[in-house]
């Protein structure tokens, strides 16, 4: 039944179609202490929290779509509505042609989910046991399960980890197994909710590579949520940024990079006091250490390439330590808001990095 409707929805059409989706939660407010608890039982003060308000977007088959926003922006709530776990307060959505909260179990055969903060693999058992169990749960035949496990073990480089109890794996190893487990039944769409949370840089990069690889190899569409703009930058072609339950930005990642992710902040520590204060066209000195050893700079990497700044710094003195950071997601969001400010000069603001004081400008 479901497969007919899947076929009807067309090959390259939207696999996710969301129109005016909203979710409000009733939260009982509780004051501190025992008397507060008592009062919450006797006369509960309910407040309404709008987790998601009027969300509309579409996602194409095979797409790698990023869904980012700070904690509490409504990302997970949206994912949970798209998997059919939560019923929306208002609005409509179809995923693979199905209404998630009405056809949850049917939909489950065609989608995979990874919630980065919660394990799905059975903790005391080797991952291979959970994979075989999932094979049964998704009603796959044993030969297919063996073939898929072989393929995923190779793609995720987890062949040597599968026989080890999950409790003995590192977080990075476990997360690779977690994502592999979600792909076992060859879903057409996989929803990754914060898959890189808590991972170190190397493990993060490895996860990103594998996700990109699986998207290309199996043509599985990936909806990725993260509060790390780096994940999106490395993986996605298109990004949706949400804040307070609303979409505040929706465009290609390349456009976001061009407009909002170009500002770099560099912190340097020199071995000796600089003979003269550091200065370079296009580079803002944010902070110069009172002792003269440390320096914090900001510049726009479109107009001032990173390597030129680094060369200049090395020429200025013996560098002991150096860090280069991208603007945080919070800064990017602030910049987007500033760019959209109605009484400012929108054109000009959108063209700049929008990072206000950090923006060096030509």
């Amino acid at each position: 039944m479901s497969s007919n409707r899947l076929a009807d929805s067309g090959a390259r059409d939207a696999i996710i179609d969301v129109r005016g989706l909203a979710k409000t939660f009733q939260v009982v407010r509780k004051r501190a202490g025992v008397s507060g608890s008592l009062r919450a039982v006797l006369r509960p003060e309910r407040t309404t929290v709008d987790a998601v308000r009027d969300l509309s977007f579409a996602m194409a088959d095979g797409e790698l779509l990023g869904f980012i926003g700070p904690n509490g922006a409504g990302k997970s709530t949206t994912i949970k509505m798209l998997t059919g776990i939560l019923h929306p307060t208002a609005g409509e959505a179809t995923v693979l042609g199905l209404v998630p909260w009405r056809e949850r179990r049917q939909l489950a055969y065609h989608i995979g989910t990874v919630f980065g903060q919660r394990p799905q693999l059975w903790f005391h058992l080797p991952a291979i046991d959970t994979l075989r169990l999932f094979g049964r749960i998704y009603e796959m035949d044993d030969a297919l399960v063996r073939r898929r496990i072989g393929l995923l073990a190779e793609a995720f480089e987890i062949g040597h980890l599968l026989e080890t109890p999950v409790s003995k794996l590192s977080l990075g190893q476990r997360m690779r197994c977690e994502i592999a487990a979600s792909l076992l039944h060859a879903p057409r769409l996989i929803l990754l909710d914060e898959p890189s949370i808590g991972l170190d840089v190397v493990a993060k990069q490895r996860i990103r590579d594998t996700i990109r690889d699986m998207n290309a190899r199996e043509d599985v569409a990936v909806l990725l949520t993260s509060h790390d703009a780096g994940d999106i930058e490395a993986l996605c072609k298109r990004v949706i940024i949400v804040n307070h339950g609303r979409i505040i930005y929706q465009d290609r990642v390349s456009a976001l990079k061009r407009t909002h992710l170009t500002c770099k902040v560099v912190g340097v520590l020199f071995a000796e006091r600089l003979a003269e204060p550091f200065a370079m066209p296009g580079v803002d000195v944010l902070k110069a250490g009172r002792d003269g050893y440390g320096l914090k700079l900001a510049f726009d990497s479109r107009t001032t390439p990173v390597e030129r700044v680094l060369a200049q710094l090395v020429a200025a003195g013996t560098v002991v330590d150096i860090t280069i950071t991208d603007p945080s997601l919070e800064e990017v969001i602030r910049a987007i808001y500033e760019a959209a400010e109605p009484d400012g000069a929108p054109g000009e603001a959108a063209a700049s990095t929008g990072l206000g004081a950090l923006d060096a400008g030509p």
């Binding site: 009733q26 998997t83 776990i85 939560l86 019923h87 489950a108 989910t113 919630f115 005391h124 049964r136």
Partner: protein
């Protein structure tokens, strides 16, 4: 074998393997029955001595002790489905459980049954050895299969009532108050403290008209007096209550799933 039995069967066997990971933990759990049985032995030995009769309501001292051994085993081994559901709502793992193509309640029943069987095997071994040493051999082995069936039905009945409480966690998160009431009802009206046969006539018939009796009293009673007529009557009552609770659970599920509020981001 249908896909459904394979599905829930696999969940059951995976949890069996999971449960056997820490045998020492299991043994420690099982040892708690020793304390209960020791207290019961002294209590009932003096009751029978004071009464001066061989049997009370048709049960000898040995029957009573074997009854209490199985009753305690059933209660000590059963997982609290309500607590499992409440925990999965609190820690958010319910999000995975709801995003898979299985029935949420049957998933918890499969896991719970595996837990119950692993723990009961160990507990019955410890408790059985003790009671055998104290009051003599168990009831005839020919009746054990009947008792095993009644134990399984009893657990399913308990899981159903517990799941009913557990589903309220979708809305309230906390189920401990209902849990407490339920466990006390099983303790007194279910026949954990003493065989329901010992209760005064009025209270006894009230208890036998309620579902709690069929979680513990029915299987333990079949175990000590395994005549087929008794088994059929009690197992029939178990099945009838299971049917009623299945309907209630289905209705509760439809109500709860629309209201689920999941913690976290």
């Amino acid at each position: 074998m249908t896909a459904a039995t394979r599905k829930y069967g696999s969940i059951f066997t995976a949890q069996l393997a999971n449960g056997l990971t820490y045998p020492l933990d299991l043994l420690g759990r099982a040892l708690s029955i020793v304390v209960f049985l020791w207290v019961f032995l002294h209590l009932w030995r003096s009751v029978y001595a004071t009464d001066g009769s061989q049997a009370i309501a048709g049960l000898t001292l040995a029957d009573t002790l074997w009854y209490l051994m199985l009753a305690e085993t059933i209660v000590l081994s059963k997982p609290r489905i309500s607590a499992d559901i409440a925990r999965s709502v609190r820690d958010g793992s319910v999000a995975y459980q709801l995003a898979r193509p299985y029935n949420f309640v049957l998933y918890h029943f499969s896991v719970g049954l595996a837990d119950a069987i692993v723990r009961a095997a160990m507990t019955a071994l410890v408790g059985g050895a003790l009671v055998w040493a104290l009051v003599g051999p168990p009831p005839p082995a020919s009746g054990w299969p009947l008792a095993a069936i009644a134990v399984l039905l009893g657990w399913l009945l308990d899981f159903s009532m517990s799941a009913l409480i557990g589903l309220s966690a979708f809305v309230t998160e906390d189920t401990s108050a209902f849990d407490w009431i339920y466990s006390k009802a099983v303790l007194v009206l279910g026949g954990v403290l003493l065989p329901l046969d010992f209760l005064p006539e009025g209270l006894g018939s009230v208890a036998r008209a309620l579902p709690f009796a069929y979680t513990v009293w029915a299987p333990a009673r079949v175990f000590v007096s395994p005549d087929p007529a008794r088994f059929l009557a009690l197992a029939g009552a178990q099945l009838a209550w299971l049917a009623v609770l299945a309907l209630l659970l289905a209705a509760a599920w439809r109500w709860a799933i629309r209201r689920v509020a999941i913690n976290g981001g």
